[in-house]
Amino acid sequence: MEGRCAVETWAQFGFSGGSYKVKILCGFGTDVLICTGTEEIYVFSKRERKITTVLLLPAAVNDLVGNQDKQLIYVACRSGVYRVNLQFLLHRDQSSQADASSSPAELKISQECLVVGADEVSSLLLVGSVLLTLCQRDASWLLTLYKTPKQTASTSHKEFGSFNLPVVSAVDCGAAESNRGPRKGSVLICIHSGDVEASSPSNASAESTVAQDHFHLEPLLFKLLFGVEAALAKSPVILCGLPDGRLCFLPLRLPGSCLRVLHSLEQPVCFVGASVVTETGHAQCLVAAGEQGRVALIKTDKAGPEGGSAVAAFTEGCVPGPVWCGCMDKSCFYYSTGADLLRLDLLEGSFARESKERGEETSGMTAAALQSPSSLNVCRVIALAEPACSTAAGDVQLLGVSARGQLQRICLPAGRVDEGSSKLPSTQVSRSVRDLLSAIGDVCERASVLKTVIKSKNQFLRLLNHAVSVSFLLMADTTTDLPIKEKPIRCHFETSWSRLLQKDSLSLVCFLHNSSPFVLERGWMLSITVSPLSYSSSPAGESSSTNFSFPFHDLRPGQTFEASLPIAAAGDASFPMTVSCSLIFSLSSLLGEEEVAASFAGLQSSCISLPLSTLTVDWLHALQLNSPTATHKMATVQPSSAAADSIQTFLSSRQLRCSGRTNRGGESAAKPEPEKYSASVWVSSEIVRDTLKPKKSSNLDAKESIRDPEDLCLSLLERLLSEDTEGVKMGCQGDKIALSTSVAHARGPNGAAMKLSVKEINVGEEESTDKEATIEVQIESSSLAAVCGLHHAVLRRIQTLLQSATEKAASTKNVQILGLRRALQRAEIQQSQISGAFGEVVSTVQRDRLLLSVYQELRRNPLLIV
């Protein structure tokens, strides 16, 4: 760390993206021209410290060269080369400047300024009165020479020669279109032999055109590289670096010369220059830098391998980082990697070699010098230039354009020599402190940006890790088949009726319990799909499923997430319905849309879905029990009382039969009797007892309560109504206590009143004596759909009851379960027929016939479950 450099921002200009070839052109008095690859060229006045003029060209600018003498610039655009007379423009500009205030004047360059009509010229060079253009045509690079007119007024530029060089297939490393850094272009510079302007006065004009792209090379090296003839002809040599890595040269004034390859960097050439200037003003080292950091130093090796004569020594090495741009001063090569501005001291290498004796070490030393460029701590510089006039001796100033579109003056610390001088005037101290602070600010800004990027990446990685762990956990569940209670992430549901705006609606509350060690964070979502179980029900609507999703914010381990979703308002739902829930992890919600789009284009819509459970909400879940209190309040609707139950039941069932026969024509006629249809399920009370026992084993008085048949019926009913099967539970807890009789009155989800009664009867007497007591579960309702639905639900419950029963007599039970399953299927078919009948708008007669047939089928199959 030799010192710090001061960065002073001079101007800020509109700048879109950093993927263009940016070029700074100095040397027009106090004006600096900057082209940014867009249609605009900015003219910055150092005296006024602001952008005075903006030149607007017809197309995007590729390159820019100038002739200080005549105050002319040539601009290579997509559509051709334009010539702009700066003096004229700026003069006009100044006259108008008087009234116009601070905003820069905008000057449109018209088509009249077009001097060469070649498109896509990638580089320009002006050598004396010759304008050279380099462009790629089909399969060859074309270097074309134009004669510029002596009088600035005339616009005719005569082409008088061109040179071809076939394109070789692109270098591989460069083919992977670098999306960072400036766009690849070609480099065109002019090399003069050092002794030329001294010896021939005719080349006086060459002196004035010497600019950034003209170098004077030491005569010996010049001869070694380009031949004696070029030196004798006093010919300048054009050196061009191509995107395929080749470095070609052309002696401009030698008759019969052609474009020849000098060297190949094997990566796009982005800078060529000469440095290590001696007192005589001749550069001793030719430097070419490739885009990926390969640098070739070309010097004279006084001690050639054969001994005696000198040879040109090519030293190749790699400097760290991509080279975005570069510039030269008398002894150093400065380049920007985007992240930093680096200085490569070329003098150091040559000193080292002089002190060493000849041998292999010399090239090693130079290569070592290449390895250690010193950092100058200026970041994001995309174009560099050394202004023609440096202020104080030993003080190097560079002009840079940053990726943010700022024109910066970069003052480098003075060389190693005057490091010892510690006494500085106070103004200088304050200035250097200011510089230091600004440098710190710059670095700090960069650091904080990097920090946030790292942080967000870490966060993202952690989330992804969690996601993978959670999915692994859930996948393991499905394979091991744990009971639902022991799953690490499980959910159960509760149904509840609520009344809102005079309308009852059933809602399903989902509880998701997270007992896994992971937090379910941003990106996770609970998705619940509700679809009717019987798809055949009606083709018109309702068959489609409904999807709900709830994003989690932060569900910590041990917490429960609660979500309630409306299933149906009273009257318009088709039960039973399947509810399946799953956890979804989506990358896009985690990263944000644009980031996903940017980095994982393929993942945009993808997400991971992990199924949690699938369950069925049936009629029993959806029942709206009429609690005693409720019945009291609306006694008019249900005049039943506990005492009268058995009689009532009997009567009504008789009635039902009668009415079923008499009132075939339609339900509407049978208004006075609300319960018209009934269905029943008979279960052996022994089994019921057996199955209910283990459930209630926690109770001390389980045995007794179950002995009592009355109790048995009650507990079965209780079980039917409130048992949480497969995680679905009926929500009305309060009614449970009130359930004192074995008869329950309720309203179904479609609003139909219904009665569910459980009692013990003896069936055995009629058929075989050894049959024991049977429990009959009877369903009665005026609505056929309700009866069927409830019947189906009761059967399902009993099926699960039986499944959970202790394995006593496996064989017989299997038979029973088979029978039960058949009955269940039948019930489902019936139900679908019923809903089909209601769904289709057919004649009432037809519908009734259909309903009746279902009913009869129901009646025909009393079920005894043993």
Partner: protein, 622 residues
């Protein structure tokens, strides 16, 4: 049924508009740049092509075939003018096939000759016939441009009948009813008559060049002389004269050839080639004065600014240069660049004794090479010697004109450029048959080193001559010594290599290098000896002169001076023998083949052979 006629009208109107636009651009295009002309041509051809696609979109039909063929003609002219020959040829082929379809014939051949014959036959005497002929003209032009002269020969009779019909029938004096028909017919970009005329003379020229190339000069001559009477532009007529001249020169009739060249120049004053050819003939005849005159004229003509591009074929889309692209012709028409002409002029002047003039030309040449206007434009292999050689020659010429100071400046320039690069040791290998191309590739750099060394040595040699001229013998010895020191750095690879100059293969590069080396050794040693003689260091002088004779036995100066030194040393009989031996050497290597700077300096002390003979006689008497 209104549709077809209206479409036809629309199309022909479109065609006519395009043709008019084209002609306007051509007419106004005299001043605009080549670029502009090219782009307007491109535009025209694409527009014509678009129109043609529209027309060809419907099946061929007699009603609009005429228009279609006219548009094909226009499109092809534009394509050919842009050198898009294959596109034009394809269009022509399609057009003939469509003509065959219209007339109900079917030719399933891809051979263009057969196709054309069938097309012409089927068009027969219908209204389509002239249009088919126009297309044939274009095919002719294409073949000519692609140098497929044999195809043109195959269809010779059709071509000649075509010429008759096109030139007589369409050009002038056509019956009024034909004119009436013509006024209705669609416009054409280029008049077929003019195209045919152009084609005729161009074909004659191309065929003449081809025959000349094959050695059938007399046959070519009669054809060309017939062609010179054809109506054409001056430039083309001049070409026929020029080629006739070449035929005559080939037939060893230089005076008649000169007459032809003169006629060519009279016809077209810009026919530089004729001037060049005349110069070659003067050179062949040994008429140096005339040759120098011709060279001077040639140079000044070449230096004229090509102000107005000679418009060869008038303002026409098809230029004669497009049709005359055969290699044998361009070889015949090629003229060296102004610089190499200037070089020949300078060298010729110096060699023929007009040294002062020659020096001026040398200086002009160097100034031209150093001027900013000089650029490496001519891709043709330069006949100029390499830069250091040019410097040395100029220097020697200056010495001839007794300007030793200027000469030394030139030599200094060469030395300062090359000396740094001269290696300590260089190996000159004997050229062997066995070593192939790769060995040569390896030795490119080494070869360059040898050249470098030889240049530096030659520069010292010439500087030595300068000092000898100034009678500064000490300095002369110093410079000759430097030259010798450089020359001994060259090691010959083949040890038992004969130091004799292999006269047969002097042209081989290494042989040439070797020859130069030996001659330079001989010269420098001899002249150091002479210098020593002047300083009365006779023993050193004798050693050097004898060494010189070893290195280069043919050098008479060394032999004579060797005798002189022997004489002065009192070894008179040896001296006489040495002189006799030297006079007996008659194999004087031709001075002209040697570079100027390796020739014997014309200044310095001289020995008079007559006086020497007198001495021998005296010796014999005593």
């Amino acid at each position: 049924m209104y549709q077809p006629p209206s479409l036809l009208e629309k199309w022909s109107q479109e065609n006519n508009e395009l043709v008019n636009k084209c002609k306007q651009q051509e007419a106004g295009g005299g001043a605009v740049s080549q670029d502009h002309r090219q782009s307007s041509l491109r535009w025209c051809s694409s527009e014509f092509h678009k129109l043609l696609r529209k027309i060809q979109g419907i099946p061929p039909h007699v009603d609009h075939s005429q228009l279609e063929l006219a548009v094909v003609y226009n499109t092809c002219v534009c394509f050919t003018a842009q050198s898009q020959f294959s596109e034009a040829e394809l269009l022509l082929k399609e057009a003939t096939e469509r003509v065959l379809q219209v007339t109900g014939n079917n030719a399933d051949t891809s051979d263009p000759l057969v196709l054309w014959r069938a097309g012409l036959k089927s068009a027969g005497n219908t209204a389509l016939h002239p249009h088919v002929l126009y297309l044939l003209c274009l095919q002719w032009a294409l073949w000519l441009a692609k140098c497929q002269l044999e195809n043109i020969g195959e269809l010779q009779e059709q071509m000649s009948s075509l010429c008759e019909i096109v030139c007589d029938g369409v050009g002038d004096g056509s019956p009024s009813e034909a004119k009436g028909r013509l006024s209705k017919s669609p416009l054409l970009v280029m008049e077929p008559k003019r195209l045919t005329e152009l084609l005729q003379i161009c074909t004659s020229i191309a065929q003449g060049a081809e025959k000349l190339n094959e050695g059938r000069s007399s046959e070519a001559l009669s054809d060309l002389q017939a062609a010179s009477a054809l109506p054409a532009t001056r430039a083309l007529v001049a070409y026929t004269h020029l080629l006739s001249g070449s035929c005559l020169a080939h037939m060893n009739r230089p005076q008649m050839a000169l007459q032809c060249y003169k006629k060519a120049l009279e016809t077209d004053s810009r026919c530089v080639c004729a001037l060049y050819r005349s110069m070659l003939i003067y050179r062949q005849l040994g008429n140096t004065q005339a040759e120098i005159q011709a060279l001077r004229l040639l140079h000044s003509t070449l230096m004229l600014p090509p102000a107005t591009e000679p418009v060869l074929g008038g303002i026409q889309p098809l230029s004669p240069s497009l049709l005359l692209s055969s290699q044998s012709l361009s070889r015949l028409l090629s003229v060296p660049s102004a610089l190499s002409v200037l070089y020949s002029l300078a060298l010729k002047c110096v060699l023929s004794g007009r040294v002062t003039e020659g020096v001026e030309h040398y200086l002009d040449l160097l100034a031209a090479l150093h001027s900013e206007d000089q650029h490496a434009v001519d891709a043709e292999v330069s006949v100029l010697p390499r830069m250091p050689e040019l410097y040395l020659e100029a220097g020697t010429a200056l010495l001839f004109t007794r300007r030793p100071a200027d000469c030394m400046a030139f030599c200094n320039e060469v030395i300062s450029t090359t000396l740094e690069l001269v290696p300590e040791k260089v190996v000159l290998e004997e050229p062997e048959e066995g070593i192939g191309g790769d060995a040569r590739g390896l030795s490119v750099e080494g070869e360059d080193k040898v050249a470098m060394l030889l240049w530096a040595a030659a520069a010292y040699l010439v500087q030595g001559h300068c000092h000898a001229h100034l009678k500064d013998w000490k300095q002369a010895v110093t410079h000759y010594t430097r030259c010798i020191n450089l020359l001994v750095k060259v090691h010959l690879k083949n040890r038992d290599f004969q130091p004799q100059i292999p006269a047969a293969d002097v042209n081989v590069k290494h042989g040439k290098d070797l020859c130069t080396l030996q001659r330079m050794k001989g010269l420098s040693l001899a002249w150091r000896g002479i210098s020593f003689t002047q300083m009365d260091q006779l023993r050193e002088a004798l050693r050097d002169l004898q060494l010189s004779l070893q290195a280069f036995p043919d050098y008479t100066g060394a032999g004579l001076w060797c005798g002189e030194v022997l004489w002065r040393l009192g070894r008179k009989h040896e001296a006489a023998a040495c002189w006799e031996k030297t006079w007996s050497l008659t194999t004087q290597t031709s001075v002209e083949k040697l570079p100027l700077y390796l020739q014997d300096p014309q200044s310095g002390p001289l020995l008079d052979s007559v006086e020497l003979r007198l001495r021998i006689q005296e010796l014999g008497l005593t």
